[in-house]
Amino acid sequence: MVIPRWIPGKVSGMPLLIAVLLLFPLTTGNEFHLDIATQMALIAATVVGLNLLVGYAGQVSLGHAAFFAIGAYGSAVLTSTYGWSAVPALLGSAALVAAIAWLFGRPLLRLKGHYLSMATLGFGIIVAIVINNEGWLTGGPDGMAVAPFSIFGFELSVFDDYTLWGVEVTGALLWYVVAAFLLVVAVWIALNIIDSPIGRALRAVHGSEVAARVVGVDTAHYKLMIFVVSAIYASVMGSFYAHYTGFITPELATFEHSIELITMVVLGGMGSTFGVIIGAVLLLLLPQLLADFQQYEMLLFGLILMLTMIFMPKGLLPTLCQLFTRVLDRSRLSARRRDET
């Protein structure tokens, strides 16, 4: 097979992501599809943040669902019970999550090993229990309703229709646009961090931590920074998720949800920002494709984790890129040989 020369070796991910996000609503007018896509975008943005921690700082958080849930419940409680408006509620929840992450990370990230994983695991379990038991605040296992997102008196509800600059749009489409925008911003920020001295310092920690330290990189400081950033990602997306779905349950904070997020990172490719988006999309598609799948969900996630680790430890996108480059090289080589003979 000869691959034409016009296919570049490296496709730039950002324009491709924007193109896919823009084209998607044109392919379907179906509100159900838009709903799935909106949720996917919000979760994918969370996973992009988690990937900064897992793929770059080399640390695993087993409690990211808890940060997501604190964002969601924080926004819900502050807007519904205390009458805050949505933006300050979102920022307040994110500040709380940042403070918690900082408190946990500061002592733990100075140590080598999996201390952060264990601590976040414990923290996640505690948050799930608190949300379940403190019914007066969170509605307990029954969950709680969340007011629609509003900013400057403009209320964004999935069930309303809006007229923007003379064009009729549904609330569902508008929410999709918001979620897509959030995903693009999340990716933009992640790529900025990766492509900066901070990202270089974190990559160096993977390569040789002592090399980074002897040239003056305070590695513990950067690991802590990226942990707090990834927790804020989860919190902010949790807040939007709560306003979008309009109803949240303690399930958001469960260990299973944390594992789901980690599985997305591993499947898509640790350290690959666009890879983990694909990971999120695939794992969220699964329940849609398989009916009566609910009770086997954890089983399947476990299986996917295992098979990914065994057959493509680098994850889906990096492995595919590698295969593609190899095929490309081989075809160019054979083309050159043909030219010579």
Binding site: N192, S196, P197, I198, G207, S208, A211, R213, V214
Partner: protein, 250 residues
Amino acid sequence: MRLEVKGLSKAFGGVHAVDELDFTVEPGQIYAVIGPNGAGKTTLFNLISGIYRPDCGEIRLNDERVTNLPPEQLAARGMLRTFQHMQVCMNMSALENVMLGRHLHTVRGFWSALLRLPQLRRSEQACREQAAELLEFVGCHDYLESAASALPYGALKRLEIARALAAKPGILLLDEPAAGLNTTETAALERLIASIAADGITVVLVEHDMKLVMSISEQVLVLDYGRRLAVGTPTEVRQNPDVIAAYLGG
């Protein structure tokens, strides 16, 4: 930069790797530390550069007490080092490794990184150019964009030196820079060390290659069992009966 070591000791279990050691490196000197295998040379480097903590003793840099400071803070004060067993980030390109060395001299604030502000972009561009110049300076111009893992051994050793130079050292510790190099490469290394010293950087090196040590160093410290056996100019050290005994097993 002036380096002063007083009463420095470090024991591992019952073994005194470095034992009550005193010496002073004057600014701008090329100072060599030699000694038989196991004499404590690498331990001494790890103590000075903050990788190990000394049991007792004092280390001063330009009259500031720096004992027990972590490596990243020593780097900020101008003390840089290379390793006998190379510490190169194999997941990055050669150029990126050197850019990493420039870390302390780049714009690296959280918000400027997050939003990729123009000042960060300019600083990164300058960092890239300076890193490329340094790679050329150490003789690695063929490998600018290569993955570090693709570099031959000799080039990796020079890459480590370039990375240390990128951090603008006042004092540079080289741990066995000539180990594993052939004669031509060693000759190139000698010229490189001389030109580094000519820029006013104090150089301390641990080295087994006696020809190299004797031809470039101004002062030589001889260690044996973690203690100071002799110190002086290469000629003095070569004629010292204790040194001859230690090396020839007399």
